[in-house]
């Protein structure tokens, strides 16, 4: 029996076009506040790789009524924490705080929705900060950017889907205030945003606070979303590179999957398949590759380059990420994966295998959203990406929908993971053994 949540969810749209989702839950005196804008890495202009992320940094540098540093100080001085992050299809800004700070948090988000305070000094400062972010997360460590930055160019042909979302240093250096102003005008319209508040709130009061603070943000329509679709690969694509900091081999294979939004029913079995294959020691590929063959050190399958199956649009991929011992044999591992997929397609699942996988998936879903902030973020993105469906309400329905995925659907999904549809990135270790 798969349990579900029954969070009450209120959805409304302000006259200026801002969509609002409220999910009251008075079980702890805290709230999560998230504002999600429908713009991400895929939307950044040619010659401005990394700009969506750089702009996210600029949204913290002061706004209509706030000096630089004020946003941080107000959130933390209210007992809260904050952050923002840039994804392929959206950019989020959020804070979680004691509920006494509800109105303050709404004010802070509304203030930057009216516009960040863009200055040359802050832009250059944040270009420096972002470069250090890239150095610490990519350039100065082994497996930096693997696979989320270096598999997309093997898999995709168009700039929006293929380019490096962290950005080149040249493009970051070339960014101007005019770029930032245009980016804000185009994408940071309130009609292009969703506000979600979860936790210790009274709905009626919160609606009036939202109206008070966001009601006078000028109405600007959402830009038309470009078509990012690409045809499936015509044949296998491979790329191999030497990572001079990496001590052991690794690789990642990707296969295109159905549209996560437009064809959710066809997509969901892939999410389940990923767990059938690699969730825990009882999963198929862990049993075969790790415990039986001992041909890999670690194997994981998941959906989406940022690992968020319910927060991504088309095109995206089913990913198989593998770490092997020094003498690992990638070709042999790949053919074993093919063999295991074929076995799954031919023989189906063992008794109880699907049910136990679905039970664990329910735990993951429920656990992700036990924190009010996790709940607010997921609801905001669902509302934004699935407006014509059930929007944020999908949060409550996901465990049941996952439980309804059938063995036939999982087998059909596995049947599509063919070598000729696959993109592959291989990390060749360039570091001598240090022991």
């Amino acid at each position: 029996m798969i349990p579900a949540t029954r969070y009450p969810i209120e959805r409304l749209t302000l006259p200026n076009g801002l969509r609002v989702v409220l999910a009251p839950d008075r079980s702890a005196p805290v709230i999560g506040v998230a504002v999600v804008y429908d713009v991400g890495i895929r939307s950044e202009p040619v010659g401005r790789t990394g700009f969506a992320h750089l702009f996210e940094h600029l949204m913290f540098q002061g706004s209509a009524n706030l000096e630089k540093l004020a946003h941080f100080r107000y959130v933390q001085g209210s007992g809260g924490t904050f952050n923002g992050s840039t994804h392929l299809d959206y950019t989020d800004y959020y804070e979680t705080l004691p509920s006494a700070a509800l109105e303050r948090a709404l004010f802070l988000e509304a203030d930057r929705m009216r516009g960040p305070r863009l200055t040359e000094e802050n832009l250059r400062n944040q270009v420096d900060v972002v470069k250090e972010e890239i150095r610490v997360n990519v350039l100065n460590k082994p497996y930096g950017g693997f696979p989320w930055l270096n598999l997309p160019p093997v898999m995709f042909a168009t700039f929006p889907n293929a380019h490096d979302g962290y950005g080149s240093f040249d493009d970051l250096d070339a960014a101007t205030l005019t770029d930032a102003e245009e980016f804000f005008d185009r994408y940071y319209a309130c009609g292009n945003a969703v506000l979600a508040v979860a936790g210790d709130i009274d709905v009626t009061e919160t609606v009036s606070l939202v109206e008070r603070h966001f009601g006078d943000v000028p109405a600007r329509p959402a830009p038309e979303r470009p078509d990012f679709t690409e045809p499936d690969l015509a044949g296998e694509q491979r790329h191999s590179y030497v990572d001079k900091l990496a001590p052991l081999p690794a690789f990642c294979a990707g296969w295109r999957v159905p549209d996560p939004v437009g064809d959710f029913a066809a997509y969901l079995p892939y999410v389940v398949l990923a767990e059938v294959l690699t969730d825990g020691d009882a999963s198929r590929l862990v049993r075969r590759l790790v415990l039986s063959d001992r041909s890999v050190t670690n194997v994981g399958t998941y959906i989406g380059f940022m690992g968020e199956p319910y927060e991504v649009r088309d095109p995206t991929a089913f990913l198989l990420q593998v770490q092997t011992p020094a003498d690992g044999d990638m070709e042999r591992v790949l053919s074993t994966v093919d063999e295991e997929c074929a076995r799954l397609v031919a023989d189906g699942l063992e008794a109880g295998e699907l049910a136990r996988t679905q039970a664990r998936m329910a735990t993951h879903l429920l656990r992700d959203t036990d924190a009010v902030l996790g709940r607010a973020l997921r609801m905001a993105v669902l509302e934004q990406q699935r407006p014509s469906l059930t929007g944020a309400q999908l949060l409550n329905e996901l465990p049941a929908l996952i439980a309804q995925v059938t063995e036939e659907q999982v087998r059909a999904a596995a049947a599509t993971l063919r070598p000729d549809r696959r993109a592959l990135i291989e990390v060749v270790p360039g570091l001598g053994g240090t022991q």
Binding site: P3, A28, A100, F107, N125, V129, P142, A282, R367, T434
Partner: protein
């Protein structure tokens, strides 16, 4: 036009959820907290696992034990264990540090009995089968190899050695050859020697009535027995002050700067004020250090300082990764900010902001099942209960500017800091030596056991 930022509403009374507690006949203490927000239950089992001496064989064995505890029993294979847990939406895993073995996991609330039954079977009957041990031994060795290629790990290794000398805390990761030398027999002996209920704490948090959780734990774990071996970790030594340890990592594009200072344990009268002093210095984003070296100078992405509590002593650690060419200036600003807070009192406003943050994040930390379970388990390991937080919150509320200034002078003085810098020494040693004496070493020397 500037619009006023809304005030905070009055905060409610700080309260912690009720913990039900029972010590079983075998010496295991069980703590249960009900939080029904989602139909799950979180489990943490903390078993004392300290070593009296720095024995690298023990380190390798305990690391591998944590990776093979769930590798089989007389009746169940690795796969059986995982599948049975998964069938109730569950999973369990284990980890060790120099103080304790921690088993952690969660399941659907309806699966608590099953999860406890498997835990009990593993605790009383783990067999450490040859095959599975061999698999996990190789995997652990490879994970260590990868860790040893990460600058953050190497900087940590260097800092621990610098800080702890011959103390058991000084080496917390075994070498690859040490791991390869561990046998299943050694794991069985270690398990028999150390995994006992006396002094251990089991925490259950979730959508379960507390009495029901205590009964379930008692029923499942009553048969876990045997005297615990008390192998207390000796107190940590005084820091040996001296030159900056500069670890040469050729072609690094950043320098990993780490510093450590002595701190105090949670019950010490200086603890609350020191927590506030640390926040003001570098313990959160709105701190002097972050605003200086990130938001003003752009030297770094994620500077932070934090207090670490271990059984045998507490430390304050500073961590930042900076562009190689600004290594000298970054160290200078860091010393300056330490010196500033150690020699002149913070502003009232700064203190108030840090106080609100400390109090608010306490609330946030208790607002999820997992957060409560982590807190209750960690505190239990230090002989504390969640109710401690009520007193701690009161002390945070009462700390004055003078209190914070006094502890900052005592604990944050740059003259008391030990410093490690890992990076391309050829490109920044000269800059460092203009500020402080430097002793250069290599990655291989740092890793040599």
């Amino acid at each position: 036009m500037t619009v006023a930022v809304p005030d905070l509403r009055p905060a409610g009374v700080f309260a912690v959820p009720r913990t039900a507690e029972r010590t079983l006949a075998n010496g295991l203490t069980v703590l249960a907290i009900r939080r029904p927000a989602v139909p799950l239950v979180e489990l943490r089992l903390r078993v004392p696992f300290g070593a009296a001496t720095l024995r690298t064989s023990y380190l390798a064995s305990s690391s591998l034990l944590s990776q093979t505890l769930f590798s089989g029993t007389s009746n169940l294979s690795t796969v059986d264990i995982a599948a049975q847990l998964q069938s109730v939406g569950g999973a369990l895993g284990a980890g060790v540090d120099p103080d304790r073995l921690l088993v952690g996991g969660n399941s659907l609330a309806s699966g608590l009995d099953r999860m406890l039954a498997i835990l009990a079977e593993v605790l009383t009957d783990a067999t450490y089968p040859e095959e599975e041990v061999a698999t996990e031994r190789d995997r652990l060795a490879e994970r260590i190899q990868i860790a040893q290629s990460q600058p953050s790990h190497l900087a940590r290794v260097a800092l621990l050695r610098r800080r702890y000398g011959d103390h058991p805390y000084s080496v917390q990761t075994p070498t690859v050859p040490q791991v390869h030398a561990v046998t299943p027999a050694a794991l069985r002996a270690l398990h028999a020697d150390r995994i006992h209920p006396v002094g251990a704490h089991l925490v259950l948090v979730g959508d379960v009535e507390t009495e029901q959780a205590l009964d379930a734990a008692e029923q499942a774990l009553a048969g876990w027995d045997g005297p615990g071996k008390d192998d207390a970790v000796p107190p940590v030594p005084q820091p040996r002050l001296g030159p900056v340890t500069l670890v040469h990592r050729p072609e690094s594009v950043q320098s990993s700067l780490r510093m450590t200072l002595s701190a105090v344990e949670r019950r010490h009268p200086d603890h609350a004020a020191l927590q506030l002093a640390n926040l003001i210095f570098g313990g959160y984003f709105s701190s002097r250090w972050v605003e200086n070296i990130r938001e003003d100078k752009g030297y770094t992405y994620s500077p932070h300082s934090f207090i670490e509590h271990s059984q045998a002593g507490s430390s304050l650690v500073l961590s930042t990764d900076v562009a190689t060419e600004v290594t000298g200036p970054a160290l200078l600003e860091t010393i300056y900010e330490l010196g500033r807070i150690a020699t002149s009192p913070p502003g009232e406003q700064e203190l108030e902001q840090a106080r609100q943050y400390a109090l608010g994040t306490l609330q946030l930390g208790m607002s999820t099942q997992a957060g409560l379970a982590n807190l209750a388990s960690t505190y239990a390991g230090f002989g504390l209960r969640l109710e401690y937080l009520v007193d701690h919150a009161a002390r945070l509320g009462a700390a004055t500017v003078d209190d914070v200034a006094a502890v900052a002078a005592r604990y944050l003085a740059p003259a008391r800091a030990l410093t490690v810098v890992l990076g391309d020494a050829d490109r920044m040693e000269a800059a460092l030596t203009t500020l402080t004496p430097v002793e250069r070493t290599t990655v291989d020397e740092v890793l040599a056991a």
